[in-house]
């Protein structure tokens, strides 16, 4: 009796601890649906396999719990010592999992094939990892820049800085210069590194790939046309002391705003042919250079 109440007390305490952050929305518990043409599908795969696991868990754990309750020695259960094996049962519980796995593998493979189809990219940006920052090179446009942890986050993250991280906007997830990309276009990133292995990951874009020195990896994403906004991520491969402090920020702009931004970033039109080529498109939007949807 005493032992039971002690146990119940412990469970209640544990539940209270678990329930404390209940105000954190479901979004803080689960994978984001994301904003690209494929991220929803990837999220769907995640939810599908999750529910398959939950269903199997209900059946298997239910069976175990039933046995543990029903066949207690203290309730006078008598063992059936002749129950040694059953070929029929063993065939059933081999075939059913195989069927479930095949049913999972088909959509997973089909999504994977789509992810790997990188034809027809409209914008190509080279991403280089450094300890501990990112460089973005707009290969078609001929400019590049570095992206490092925002200064207020950097000040607050020092050992015993005395700054409460909660007052820093987007603590550790903010940078000085974001990667800017257009929505509704297939953007291809070429990933490499100058020192150690890093990994470029933005959960809302559902892409993660290693940036490896001496290797050129690639990934692509196409943000849905109505998903103009700012998306944040982090380096996902341990890369040394400040691995936790090289975030990624992606600013997704409408086609017009993106073109305006590109025009503003381009080096002064010194070479005539380059200026000529860019002029018609840029001229139309440079009237509102400050436009910055987000």
């Amino acid at each position: 009796m005493l032992r039971k109440s002690a146990f119940l007390g412990a469970v209640t305490a544990a539940l209270a601890v678990l329930a404390a952050p209940a105000h954190a929305a479901w979004s803080g518990l689960n994978m984001p649906v994301g904003v690209t043409t494929l991220s929803g599908e990837i999220h769907g795969l995640h939810m599908l396999i999750l529910w398959v696991c939950v269903a199997i868990a209900i059946v298997v754990f239910g069976w175990m719990i039933y046995s543990l309750v029903k066949f207690r020695k203290s309730q006078g259960a008598v063992p059936d010592t002749q129950m040694l094996h059953s070929t029929k049962a063993e065939i059933i519980w081999t075939i059913i999992p195989v069927a479930i796995l095949v049913a999972m593998a088909v959509p997973a493979a089909s999504t994977l094939i789509k992810i790997e189809d990188d034809r027809g990219a409209q914008v190509t940006i080279k991403v280089t990892g450094y300890q501990w920052k990112w460089q973005y090179e707009y290969l078609d446009e001929g400019f590049s820049y570095f992206s490092t942890l925002a200064r207020d986050s950097d000040a607050a993250r020092q050992l015993d800085s005395g700054v409460d991280p909660k007052v820093v906007p987007n603590y550790l997830l903010n940078v000085d210069n974001a990667l800017v990309v257009p929505v509704g276009r297939k953007v291809r990133l070429l990933l490499t590194s100058q020192d150690v292995i890093h990994a470029w990951w933005v959960p809302d874009l559902a892409v993660k790939k290693d940036a490896i020195p001496g290797v050129m990896n690639q990934l692509w994403f196409e943000i849905q046309p109505d998903k103009v906004g700012v998306y944040r991520g982090q380096c996902a491969e341990l890369c040394g002391r400040d691995h936790g402090f090289m975030p990624i920020v992606v600013e997704a702009k409408s086609a017009e705003d993106y073109a305006a931004w590109v025009a503003s970033k381009k080096p002064a039109p010194a070479a005539a042919p380059a200026a000529e080529a860019a002029a018609p498109a840029a001229a139309a939007v440079t009237t509102t250079p400050a436009a910055n949807a987000g």
Partner: protein, 537 residues
């Protein structure tokens, strides 16, 4: 001379251990003493590795850096993993194997007792070397336990020390594995056929083969790191025509079988305990053996699922996704067999059974998250996040470590001749089970919500669940102190244990007196004993 020989002889007749501490423990070739040494060492490493985990969880209790420098944080994650994998779990299993395999197959000792002594005594030096890296210039290795280049090559004086430590651990493991295989193949008492061996012997036999196949691969990989760093080779440097990804392939060719090395003996122990406390023979003994063997085989063809983000060709990704999913089939067979063993049993809930039941539930949860991780497109989101951390800790803590605890609580009365304090053991169980979930379950949420692993500080959106997880960690850590207390009390005294400690137990070890005498099965067990001991199957 004659006198010494005579004394030796007398000693032998009394079946007692040598008197002096050095003679008894340092020079021992007795499988029981060596088993004890392994387990005491594993326990020590478990607490040192656990203390490192608490440094990690203390720093992650809230956002901002409060206690440690990020570099030291990385040293802690690296050392915690190396200590727990190579220092705690593997030696604990070798210890249990040393104690139990000869008892279970009716052999007087392990086949190669001097090598047995040597393989243990390498370990303290290996870990002394590893721990001493904490005090060298540049600090201890901080590139993660996987030691990926080029990051690991940035390490200072610690690098060659850590690599030499890994070499020593590898040599020790290989010798231990050879000993297990030779013992199981040559020392079984007449009548103990392969398919009469208890499941613990079977799973260890397969584990030992895995060890012999993969430990040299690890040794090769870290040696290549060493020559890259000191002798100008460029195996893993693109600048010299090498490839950093090559290291990852070699490492995980070792690393994936390694996780089965940690968990297969757990399957064996659980397969002993569940029948005992269900008072019913193991369901599907032969299919258990085949399932273990298939898991062992599959473990060699799934390694690149640890590396889906390195940029593999589509065909490679599909292959490794499908082979990884296939592991769910034999693993499922095991879980179903254990469940069927409990079905129509007569179940009681002594501490070994409690830990085994908890293993059954929580290992299965770890299996589910493993299945999720196999789905490559979703893995792009899970990879290198706390979701992975949650997954492998579910498999290794309430999986491997709870199975070790189950095994210790199961056989401790046989080893010491005393019963332990059941109430304390049950408290140990309940506190561990509650806190292990408070500790690791929220890490699933953190990973899905976007928190990478191996970071000392995090965005404020992750604050709540990190705090819960850290509370769980400290609760779990403190609860573990009950374990050595329960063991020590049991060594010192307690109610006399019967020869057959548990009513429903089967197996040759229960045909021996409790405590098991210093020398056992000097004459092999009789056929009657084997048939009485062997579970019907």
């Amino acid at each position: 001379m004659a006198h010494a020989a005579h004394a030796d002889h007398a000693d032998h007749e009394h079946h007692g251990p040598p008197k002096g501490f050095i003679q008894r423990w340092v020079m021992t070739t007795n499988h029981k003493d060596i088993g004890t040494l392994y387990m005491v060492f594993a326990g020590l490493m478990f607490f040192i590795g656990g203390a490192m985990a608490l440094v990690i969880r203390a720093e992650l209790f809230q956002p901002g850096l409060q206690f440690v420098d990020p570099q030291f944080f990385n040293s802690m994650t690296t050392a915690h993993a190396l200590m727990m994998v190579f220092g705690a779990v593997m030696p604990a299993w070798v210890g249990v194997a040393n104690w139990m395999i000869p008892l279970q197959i009716g052999a007087p000792d392990m086949a190669l007792p001097r090598m047995n002594n040597f393989s243990f005594w390498i370990l303290p030096f290996a870990f002394l070397l590893l721990i001493s890296t904490l005090f060298v210039p540049g600090g201890s290795p901080a590139g993660g336990w996987t030691l990926y280049p080029p990051l690991t090559l940035q390490g200072g004086d610690a690098l060659p020390m850590a690599i030499f430590a890994v070499h020593m651990m590898g040599i020790s493991s290989i010798m231990g594995a050879i000993n297990v295989i030779v013992t199981l193949m040559n020392m079984r008492a007449p009548g103990v056929t392969l398919l009469r061996m208890p499941l613990f012997c079977w799973t260890w036999l397969i584990t030992a083969y895995l060890l012999i196949l993969v430990m040299p691969v690890l040794a090769g990989a870290v040696t290549m790191l060493l020559t890259d760093h000191f002798f100008g080779t460029t195996f893993f440097s693109a600048a010299g025509g090498g490839d950093p990804v090559l290291y990852q392939h070699i490492f995980w060719f070792f690393g994936h079988p390694e996780v089965y090395i940690l968990i297969l003996p757990a399957f064996g122990v659980v397969s002993e305990i569940i029948p005992t406390f269900s008072r019913k023979p193991l369901f599907g003994y032969e299919s258990m053996v085949y399932a273990t063997a298939s898991i062992g085989f599959l473990s060699f063809i799934v390694w690149a699922h640890h590396m889906f983000t390195v940029g593999m060709p589509l065909a490679g990704q599909l292959f490794f996704m499908l082979t990884t999913m296939m592991i769910a089939v034999p693993t499922g067979v095991k879980v179903f067999n254990w469940s069927a063993t409990m079905w129509k049993g007569s179940i009681s809930f002594e501490p070994p059974m409690l830990f085994a039941i908890c293993f059954l539930f929580l290992f299965t949860i770890g299996g589910f998250s493993g299945l999720m991780l196999a789905i490559t497109p979703a893995d792009f989101q899970y990879h290198d996040t706390y979701f992975v951390v949650a997954h492998f800790h579910y498999v290794l803590v309430p999986g491997a470590i709870f199975a070790i605890m189950a095994g210790v609580y199961y056989w401790l009365p046989k080893w010491t001749g005393h019963m332990y304090n059941m109430t304390l053991a049950k408290w140990h169980f309940w506190m561990s089970t509650i806190f292990v979930n408070v500790l690791f379950f929220p890490q699933h949420f953190l990973g899905l919500a976007g928190m990478p692993r191996r970071i000392p500080d995090y965005s404020t959106q992750f604050a709540e669940w990190n705090m819960v997880s850290s509370i769980g960690a400290f609760g779990f850590g403190v609860s573990q102190l009950m374990f050595p207390i329960a063991i020590w009390q049991c060594v010192k005294g307690g109610a006399r244990a019967a020869d057959k400690v548990w009513e429903g137990a089967h197996g040759l070890e229960w045909e021996l007196p409790s405590p098991a005498p210093y020398h056992t099965w000097e004459s092999p067990p009789s056929m009657a004993q084997i048939e009485h001991g062997a579970p019907a199957h």
